[in-house]
């Protein structure tokens, strides 16, 4: 498996990145760890005449934990997230989810930005970011803009990021309450058959807020507001769980693939969500 020939750029600053993107338009793509893009190039399913390697562009590898928000640079890897003790304290769901992505080698190379910006419905971080109500910072020739994760995904590999823009950082409100990232997969290294991100707040036995997003059950990640709402005001009892699952099932739209037919995926999505809610609630 040999990719087609391409020109390689390794700019040292974002201005240069943007000018190459401007010059080559659709023919240029940025790359962080490359672990989604390079296999696609080798299979010749992605044609990238101009490849821009972001690794020398500074300022995208930091994890900043503020009083209310957490800012994570786009080049932070999954293994950086796993190893960051302070981050695991304030947003443990990031570590829990990262450990379920791919395998150790891939986590060393795979970045948060790449996982998010690629728009692959199989990636785990997009749904998680929607659950956490993250905001993505993208920069283009016209400067920076912020796009809510919940508005970012339009279709498989189609996002609100314009061709000339680069995703540079993710800002997450410090999560509150209990969390869970629950994922069913066939083996390590596989995408999810179904995965659920849940962040839930318990106030005196009542759920006061709940955010739920599902992964690989539609052509985009699915933030299910109605599923979260179904839990709010309840004691997260069986009826509430049923209501949340029913609401979520109304929002997802899985397709048949080697992981199974639609009926199976819907069923597993429900089971996984129930388990995620139960675990998150037990931690809330």
């Amino acid at each position: 498996m040999i990719p087609a020939a391409f020109e390689y750029y390794r700019p040292k600053d974002m201005d240069k990145v943007l000018s190459i993107l401007e010059e080559h338009g659709d023919d240029a793509r940025v790359m962080a760890g490359g672990h989604s893009l390079i296999p696609m190039m080798k299979l010749r399913m992605a044609d990238v005449p101009h490849l821009i390697d972001l690794q020398d562009v500074g300022g995208m590898s930091e994890i900043e934990i503020g009083a209310d928000t957490i800012k994570i640079g786009a080049l932070v890897t999954q293994s950086d997230i796993i190893d960051h003790a302070a981050l695991a304290d304030v947003a443990p769901i990031l570590r829990e989810a990262s450990l379920q992505i791919a395998d150790p080698q891939v986590r060393y190379m795979g970045t948060l930005g790449g996982n998010i910006a690629n728009g692959d419905p199989g990636n785990d971080m997009p749904g998680l970011m929607q659950c956490l109500d993250a905001t993505f910072t993208v920069v283009g020739q016209d400067g920076e803009r912020a796009i809510p994760a919940r508005d970012f995904y339009e279709a498989a590999y189609v996002t609100a990021r314009e061709d000339g823009e680069v995703l540079t950082a993710v800002t997450i409100p410090r999560p509150k309450g209990g969390h869970a990232y629950e994922k069913q997969k066939r083996k390590i290294g596989d995408y999810a058959t179904a995965a659920a991100s849940v962040q839930i707040v318990n106030d005196g036995g009542k759920c006061v807020s709940a955010a739920i997003a599902m992964t690989n059950l539609s052509d985009t990640p699915v933030f299910s507001k109605t599923a979260g709402d179904a839990l709010v005001g309840t004691s997260v009892d069986d009826a509430a769980l049923k209501a949340a699952v029913a609401a979520m099932l109304g929002d997802i739209d899985p397709t048949e693939d080697n992981r199974g037919p639609v009926a199976f995926k819907n069923h597993v999505a429900g089971v996984i969500l129930r388990r995620a809610i139960a675990r998150a609630w037990s931690r809330a």
Binding site: M1, I2, P3, A4, A5, F6, E7, Y8, R10, G34, H35, I38, P39, M41, K42, L43, L51, D53, Q55, S79, A102, D103, P104, Q105, V106, Y108, M109, I188, G189
Partner: protein
Amino acid sequence: MSKKKHVTLNVNGKTEEFLAEPRELLIYTLRERLNITGPHIGCETSHCGACTVTIDGKSVKSCTMFAVQAEGAEITTIEGIGGPDNLHPLQEAFKEHHGLQCGYCTPGMITRATKLLEEIPNPTEAEIRFGMAGNLCRCTGYQNIVKSIQAAAAQMSAAKEAAE
């Protein structure tokens, strides 16, 4: 044909400089340009780990990296881990505990294990199985690989304690 790039790598302690097409995958640089044939190609889609090398302290699947990306990097392959006169405890342990059969996954397996034992010097069985899950083996069923890594960890810990 795209423009060739100048690449400098430090591989197993030796500086290597060459001109390469950007699409040259690091695994081919090592295997064909530098004749370092320990790392192997198994799947080409970053699932099997036969091509695992250590790059600037990270375990990396070298079939999923272009040589130009590794510009300036320090790379260690199985050949840099230990040789006839200075076998690494993992190399000894794999021999001792039948941690290999056809040998094709072994260089990647051992290379990854050196890093795993840096991350977790005394791993549990579950930590080994989880930490080695990026390396596929078709022959051993992993049981003796786990055993080999446990044995090397014990040996390395004992050696470290003795040195302290």
